[in-house]
Amino acid sequence: MKSIFRTLAIGVISILSLTTMAHATPWDNLNSDQLEAQLVEKFEQGQYSPKGADSCLMCHRKNDDVMALFDGAHGKITNSESPMAGLQCEACHGPQGTHNKGGKEPMIAFGKDSKLSPQTQNTVCQGCHNDPEQMAWHTSTHNLEEVACADCHTIHAAKDPALDKLSVNDTCTSCHTKEKADMNKRSSHPMKWDQMTCIDCHAPHGSMSESALVKPTVNDTCYSCHAEKRGPFLWEHAPVTEDCSSCHNPHGSVNDNLLDSRAPQLCQQCHAPDGHASRVVPEPGMDAFGGGKSCLNCHGQIHGSNHPSGSLLQR
């Protein structure tokens, strides 16, 4: 048994100790500021290649990732808005300069291996993508956390996984791991089967609402699918009107119906009148207080009632 653990430990350690044998480039020793300064200078000089993409592909055409650009929108020459219809590769990667003469000059690079700051990388994308969807980007948590566009978006591909309903949740949960786990709780929105997506409620480019929600308030966001709870109702339940998340956790819960706790305990965290609601319920399933829907056996219109006699949310 010990030897199995030892073998396992050695295996794990040797895997972890492996280091990348990445392509060493002459600009690897530049720090982020030095790299940026050099790229700014190159960008201002504007020494674009005379033949556009053909110059770049002379060397890079054997790289499948590079060539995958032509399968997506950014690689379409016939699309007048595409970089390929303009400065081609250099529209995003900056002027070639003398990069092709010995490969000693850096180009603008993207993704997790790029030393260029995310904000600077993002200026490339924002040069074209400046529409209402990105209006709140600069004050968004993603921008303040220095997330680069390329951290989520893949341009060199037939389809960007962040733009596909079947893979956008994977894109978000690669960082938002707690929310990934929440999807698998006893109750959750149908996210793990991609029937719903994170971006149904949240705007990944930021919004002018709390938690980057797509609607002005938490409740407005919930009402966009649960319009029956919008009301207004003749008889309201105050915490329901104030904030759906007073009782529900939209990411998932170990309780049914995304509730923070189950009834009767949840209800008794707010209701202690001189009457039945204060009663201790020692066991579930024994009487109308702890059986079936508990408090909701009688107060079934918990989200609000429109019955003239519905003040106790019973009708």
Binding site: L39, L57, S82, T120, G127, L144, T241
Partner: protein
Amino acid sequence: MSFKRNMITLAMAVAATPAMAANFGVNQANTESVNTERYECKRCTNTTGYTGEVSVSAGYNDVSDVHAGNALGTGKDGGIGAVSGDVKYQGDSGYQAQIQAHQLGMDNGFARLSGGKAGLYQFNLDYDAIKTYQAGDVESPLWHNNGMLTPSDTLNVFDLGLRREKVGLGFDYGQDFYGAFVNYSQEAKTGTKSSSLVSPSPINFGQPIDATTKQFDAGIHFSGQNWLTELSYFGSVYENHIDHLSLPYANDVYSATPDNQAHQVSLSGQYNINRTFMNGRIVTGRMIQDDNLIQMTGNPLQSWDGQVDTLDARYALTSMLTNRLRLGGSVDYSKRDNQSSSAEFAQYNFNSLTGAFRQNVPQDIERNTYKVNASYRIASGYRLQAGYDRKEVERTYSDREQTHDDSLWMKFNVRAFDNFNFNIKAQHANRSGSEYEANDLTSSEDNSLMRKYYLADRTRNAVELRMNHTPTNWLSLDVTTRYAKDEYDDTQIGLTESEDYGYDINLNMAFNQHIDGYVFAGQQWINSNQVGSQGFARPDWAADIEDEFVNLGLGASYSGLMQDKLTLGVDYLFSNSVSDTYVITDGTSPYGDYFSYNHSASLYADYAMNEQMALKITYRYERYFDTDAANVGVNDIPGMITLGDINHNYNAHQVMLSFTYKLR
């Protein structure tokens, strides 16, 4: 004195370091020497025409409980079939179109069709179907027909579930500096939901659902070099086609969900000067509900004119003062002004009129939120962020009319190492407010020691640690651990404290072009304590709620078999949700079983017969179990009727054979 001097030094430092912004946007490019006419793109692999794939699937579902339909895409037992695909068309002159379909023919599926000319216009047509199963073979002695719930000795057996079917149509048009959009969608909701009424004893029953939500959005936007503005409208109309419910011996015992509508007009904008960005928005809205009220003695109104006016406004700013220092902040205002009419209505005591009248109390809510934040790069790869948030809420007719939440937070990010990233987050928050009063307008008067948790004084402390390790370019490991504690120090009755802690580990591997895999594991614990009083006096009972969640998953795929034509894959997920409650009176007693677990597995083999055609066989297994001791037989509790034992315990299997045809 020294503080002043430090501020002066800081101000000088800020002034002396010009915030130069690198901007590599193509619109900033120096294109003097560019002649794109010489671009030939000989090495480009430009594709016009159709690309993508279409697949047809047929298979078999072995389902004993329709609840399995949530995981398997359909609750049908027996033969199943579906069509999926993702096809793009690219024309020579810039026209493009795309259609994506997923599992059409199953309960859950969607289709998206879009097309247009880039930079000019785009249309889209969407279809979405989502069916959520809650329980199958639910029993009820009540039979619904046109608003009448008729009791019968023969049990009505049905499924609890909701089907949403949504069709949407959209059109976008845009030129250089302006654009406009129009979207319309209509969603039909059908099914049966679990409901309950009192007449005079409680009866759980299946309430039919038949409703439509129509959504209409439109907007226009303009942009310039450093600004952007949008004016938009959002409208939603909800129509319920199920009327009030009656019992043969009690008319209109349960009111229908009323029709309602909501409208919002929003004006938003963004402006930037060098590295200072600001954005703002003002949204004015109205929610209307004026359905006819049930006519009865003691109701003075034919219909109620429910109307809530809302106003939401925001201004936010962020500025890179130097290459190291960023400052930002925001102000939010949100008002819910309930303009609905108020009247006195007779209230029932069980089934007979007592003569007690009550007035409805339309509640107004007003919120102000202020946030400031700063981010400072201490050195390359080391960044410190800190902020202060304050949220003020005022509400009428409440036990506590004013509350304010103050929160101080700090984050420290380390990106200085090639293979390691560290993040630490900490938060200290406090809620306080005006005097807490029990209020007989909002509810029957509560014990004076009760502090409702969403209004009560609260101290929150939270910390999160996150580590990301990438030892090689094919392996990445994320480890996150977090702890949070809420203390309600002034609460003697109600929720008194709650702690939430846990961890998750995610390991992703892309070993080479043929092998990839993942493993994740996580646990979370949420423990909360609450106190009650049966005697309407001092605390005399308590409840400890101990929630635990476990989540495990792993998967791998290998694509290097039979000259790379065969891909084999496996995915497995386990999750276990437990909520144990202990009721403490004279002794401690457990409050019954309440847990669920599932094992979900899938195995697949994908064989490429040639460049165009592929066959895939998939086997999926779902083991699901849940229990809630509150769910008992229809007549097990004297004096009430339940929907029976709706707990789940099943094994489900699915085998699917898919044929995929690739275009180009």
